[in-house]
């Protein structure tokens, strides 16, 4: 891909695949080239060039998500070494706002996709379950932005959240029942009734509002 894909055909193809408008694709492509340093692919190191990202407590998880085969729809697990522009768009398309033209089914589907993205971020070993260990890990990172919260607090919060998840998903548990971890179905259950419209959408502008990048 890369340089060749300014060809309108390819843009149109991408439009169909990802749902972005051609303006947005062009915009994102410019950004892509900026990130990759005019290379056809982006590697993990390229993300180091985004200065604002450094403050993000779950930075590594997010960057990882860009290379996650599950998110790229390339396989059930594993990480890609590098991603091309199409992959980049695929990841970005997770965050497209819901179109007014979408019917209910599509809206539901898009919601599911977005949640799946988050789920994959939590489930770092790709076994389809967020285990307590993984959950703790995420919570620790999430709270690492606040220097005053200790690891143990993060841990007990994760524990509490896990218990809550268990009680939501399993109801009253039998004493010898074991809660293995949050599956994607459970995850959906947890999110039931919670509006994610404002939480998981980015307005991709058509205008040029590039952030600095060194």
């Amino acid at each position: 891909m890369g340089a060749a894909h300014s060809a309108s055909e390819e843009v149109r193809e991408l439009e169909g695949k990802t749902g972005f408008s051609s303006d947005q694709i062009e915009q994102l492509h410019r950004r892509f080239k900026q990130l990759s340093g005019d290379q056809p692919t982006i590697r993990k190191e390229n993300f180091n060039n985004v200065p604002d990202l450094e403050l993000n407590p779950i930075r590594s998880k997010i960057v990882r998500a860009f290379f996650d085969n599950r998110n790229l729809r390339k396989g059930p697990s594993g990480l890609a070494d590098e991603i091309n522009f199409e992959d980049f768009l695929t990841i970005m398309s997770y965050f497209r706002p819901i179109d007014t033209s979408m019917d209910e089914e599509q809206v539901e589907l898009s919601r599911k996709e977005k949640l799946r993205f988050l789920f994959h971020m939590y489930d770092s070993d790709s076994d389809g379950r967020i285990t307590l260990e993984e959950y703790r890990n995420v919570v620790e990172e999430l709270l690492s932005g606040n220097p005053h919260i200790e690891k143990e607090s993060a841990r007990s919060i994760a524990d509490g959240a896990m218990m809550e998840a268990a009680s939501v998903c399993m109801g009253q548990m039998e004493p010898d029942q074991v809660y293995e971890g949050i599956t994607f179905e459970d995850f959906l259950k947890i999110w039931q009734g919670i509006d994610i419209e404002t939480k998981m959408h980015v307005r991709f502008l058509n205008m040029e509002t590039m952030a600095l990048c060194h």
């Binding site: 260990e133 995420v138 919260i149 007990s156 919060i157 009680s167 293995e180 980015v202 307005r203």
Partner: protein, 834 residues
């Protein structure tokens, strides 16, 4: 409002007494004391009505309004259909009628001074201080558009259309010009925060819709003030003398007024936050600062003729985070309640006096065309304005405003007391048709508040507007929400856009780095995290429901009477065994001692004390519940001693926290389930026995050491008798008791299947030996899994207390995790300083 006429003095007094202060009392003294006073020296009793008249009448009015509110709520049916504001207006009309009938003068009206200086600030402050900031700033663009463009649009179209109709001659002959119409348009255009709050709070539309209407009503104040001032001065100047320069000045003054007002608010918010950082030693007046400084922000911007509403709104919005973190929990509660009380009181009075003010034939000038057309125009143009603006907004908004939302937005454009106060403020000399304006405004206000307020609820139901659902805060939700925030800002970073999330992210970073450091107490910086708060809340809820459940079941086993004088006669006689057992098991479960970091957080706030002293203190404090009466006879003006209730709450909270972790640990029990179960059963029996051996309410505390040993023997004996098979096991259990060791966290089987162990206990071993078992911190008896599940009728709120297991994968990490959490028993609830 409480204007003092000088007519009919005697009758006034009479009426004041007869009608419970409904009527104005005359300004002239009629005290009988006067007459006697001259004749006979010192009077034992004098009647000084004039002396107390003003405050007395004010107090009586407030009382009437409040009692009326009680009255409304006696009938749930009425209040669920008719909004309170409408009821209050009607009540005001009735009362006004009574006063008028008695006195024939409208002496009580809502005067602008009282309204703007005393009644409006509390309402707006309340709105600002409890503003959902995230939602507000998330929709700020929309709100601003509606507030600024929408209000200007309403003012202009209403004014011009009325003028057009006037020119057609439909209204007859009025001494009125274009500018008067525009002036009227500008004061009637603004959506009123008081009315909107009063009505929308009962309707429960979804939060986005609410914040838009509500935010608009608050922020349009600047526009209203400027338009009003500009047109008033234009009217004063006379239509011909208005130059282009004046118009430009008007536009400039809009920016000065709005931005200036906001700036004043922000500055005062900064001051307020800074002050509360240092109020640690004057806790008792802490809440006062919040009110005084916010009020000063209002007055200051009023003084500088800036938008006072904006000032106090933004003061509240900006300070809330820091103030809430800085002040103590009690102060926060005080602030919350006082603010709500003032706001709701002010609101009540406003609506009632709106009604009363209407009963005054002198202000009524009827002009059917004018009144009706005003009603039509404000509704129609509001709707058109909303549709146009929404069309524009929807091109940029992520969450679209649906047609249904637009209907509610249009219909929710209620006019209220601000318009009324402004119209009363008009100078009758310059505005010739002031009375017409006043009466029309009253009609408009009544129409919107009563008619629209009455119908908006059915409308919302009929249109199936997305309602706001009240959900319990969930930990997972918060965590995921946080994750989303970070993801979104990262995506914006990566895609190179400066969007909403980008800004928010940068702001929160700035806030954490600089603002919070300056404005927040250091201890507050530590514990201030939303997620932690939710965690805390949930635990508290669990604890409370646990206690409530215990009490509901009728067993007060967990309320220990103090050893001194049994002021509480708690019946400790064991009841039918299941109930008793279950409760005590619940109790026991709770005490399993895993130290929590919440404790450690608190621990760090305290100075280190002598460990042993602390242990003793802790034990006494935690296990000897005080009866409530005991602590009431201490009076101090400057200090509020935290009541026993709170301590108990806190303690229960800690227990629950421990329990939460403990139920994770129970996973370990799965390792040798059978043996364990047997042992558990054993203990269960033992526990029952022990319970029954506690005499009625009187805990033998005189000689703990002896008692301890006796009980132990008792226990052992009885168990041996009953279940010889388990003898070995049982003695093992008792050995546990004696040899409390620290290696719970280790992987040795003994450690694992004894969840009784806790790091806590390891340290109080010495103490343990001296205390009777039922007073020892870590209860030695742990219910079996079976026993736990047998708890009858566990309510749904208990779900978090129910035991469950995690995958065996994580078990080890769990136990290891407990390692660092070990704390000396120093982390005790009673010494927590909030």
């Amino acid at each position: 409002m409480w204007g003092l006429g000088s007519r009919a003095p005697g009758r006034g007094l009479l009426l004041a007494l007869a009608l419970g202060g409904l009527a104005r009392a005359g300004g002239v003294e009629v005290e009988p004391g006067d007459a006697h006073g001259e004749s006979g020296g010192f009077q034992v009793v004098t009647f000084e009505w004039a002396h107390v008249q003003d405050p007395y009448v004010i107090a009586l009015w407030i009382l009437v309004a409040s009692v009326a509110k009680i009255g409304f709520h006696l009938s749930h049916k009425v209040t669920s259909v008719v909004p309170e504001s409408a009821l209050l207006i009607v009540l005001g009309l009735v009362l006004g009628g009574i006063v008028w009938a008695a006195d024939h003068i409208a002496s009580f009206t809502l005067t602008p001074t009282v309204f703007f200086f005393y009644l409006l600030p509390p309402i707006v402050l309340d709105a600002g201080y409890f503003m959902p900031n995230r939602l507000f700033f998330g929709n700020l663009g929309t709100i601003l558009l509606y507030a600024v463009v929408g209000t200007v649009w309403n003012a202009a179209t209403t004014g011009l259309s009325l003028y057009g109709v006037f020119l057609s001659g439909l209204m007859g002959d009025l001494k009125i010009g274009l500018l008067d119409f525009l002036l009227f348009g500008s004061l009637i255009a603004a959506v009123d925060p008081v009315a909107v709050l009063a009505v929308f709070e009962e309707v429960h539309v979804n939060e986005v819709l609410f914040i838009i209407v509500f935010g608009e009503s608050l922020l349009n104040d600047a526009v209203t003030v400027v338009l009003y001032n500009v047109f008033e001065s234009f009217v004063a100047l006379g239509g011909d003398n208005v130059t282009g320069l004046d118009c430009v000045k008007g536009i400039v003054s809009f920016f000065v007024v709005s931005l200036g007002g906001t700036l004043v608010g922000v500055i005062f918010a900064f001051l307020l936050s800074l002050v509360t950082r240092f109020t640690k030693h004057v806790r008792i007046i802490e809440p006062g600062f919040v009110f005084i400084i916010s009020y000063l922000s209002y007055l200051t911007s009023e003084m500088l003729s800036l938008s006072a509403i904006l000032a106090i709104t933004f003061c509240g919005i900006c300070c809330q985070k820091y103030v809430k973190a800085n002040i103590s929990e009690q102060s926060a509660t005080t602030v919350r309640y006082t603010m709500k009380m003032l706001a709701s009181g002010a609101e009540t009075i406003i609506f009632m006096f709106l009604g009363i003010s209407a009963v005054n034939p002198f202000i009524w000038t009827w002009n059917t065309a004018f009144v009706l057309l005003t009603l039509v125009f404000i509704s129609v143009y509001r709707a058109i304005g909303v549709v146009l603006q929404t069309w524009l907004l929807n091109r940029y908004r992520m969450v679209q405003l649906e047609p249904i939302d637009q209907v509610v937005l249009s219909y929710g454009g209620l006019r209220g007391a601000v318009a009324f106060a402004l119209v009363v403020l008009l100078d009758g000399e310059k505005v010739k048709e002031k009375n017409l304006f006043v009466s029309t405004t009253i009609i408009v206000v009544f129409f919107t508040v009563i008619f629209q307020g009455l119908t908006i609820k059915p409308l919302v139901q009929w249109l199936k507007v997305k309602r706001s659902e009240h959900r319990e805060p969930r930990l997972n939700e918060k965590l995921h929400g946080r994750a989303f925030d970070h993801i979104l800002s990262a995506i914006e970073d990566i895609s190179g856009q400066i969007g909403h999330n980008y800004l928010r992210d940068k702001w929160s970073h700035f806030d954490r780095k600089f603002l919070s450091r300056v404005l927040m107490r250091r201890s507050a910086q530590k514990s201030r995290d939303r997620i932690l708060n939710v965690f805390h809340e949930l635990n508290l809820k669990d604890a409370i429901s646990y206690v409530a459940e215990g009490e509901r079941r009728g067993s007060l086993a967990f309320i220990r009477s103090p050893s001194t004088d049994n002021m509480v006669n708690v019946d400790f006689t064991p009841r039918s065994s299941t109930v008793e057992a279950s409760v005590s098991y619940l109790l026991r479960e709770n005490v399993s001692a895993v130290c929590l970091d919440m404790q450690s957080l608190e621990q760090r706030r305290r100075s280190i004390r002598d460990a042993e002293d602390m242990v003793t203190h802790h034990t006494l404090q935690q296990y000897l519940y005080k009866p409530r009466q005991e602590y009431k006879h201490l009076y101090s003006r400057h200090e509020l001693t935290p009541t026993e209730d709170e301590k108990q709450d806190r303690e229960i909270f800690h227990r629950t926290m421990r329990k939460r972790l403990e139920s994770f640990k129970t996973t370990k029990l799965g390792l040798n389930q059978n043996k364990k179960a047997a042992k558990m059963y054993k203990r269960e029996r033992a526990q029952k026995r022990r319970n029954s051996s506690i005499p009625n309410g009187k805990l033998p505390t005189e000689n703990p050491v002896q008692n301890f040993t006796i009980k132990e023997k008792d226990l052992e004996l009885s168990d041996t008798e009953e279940h010889p098979n388990y003898d070995e096991e049982m003695s093992g259990g008792i050995e546990f008791l004696a040899s409390v060791t620290k290696d719970t966290a280790s992987d040795s089987p003994a450690g694992i299947d004894n969840p009784v162990f806790s790091p806590d206990e390891a340290l109080d071993r010495g103490l343990l030996a001296r205390l009777p078992p039922w007073l020892s911190p870590g209860e030695t008896v742990v219910p079996s899994q079976r026993a736990r599940t047998q708890i009858p009728h566990s309510p749904s709120t208990f779900r978090r207390l129910t035991p469950f297991r995690l995958s065996s994968k994580s078990v080890d990490s769990f136990l290891q995790a407990d390692g660092p959490e070990e704390r000396p028993p120093a982390a005790l609830p009673e010494s927590t300083h909030m």
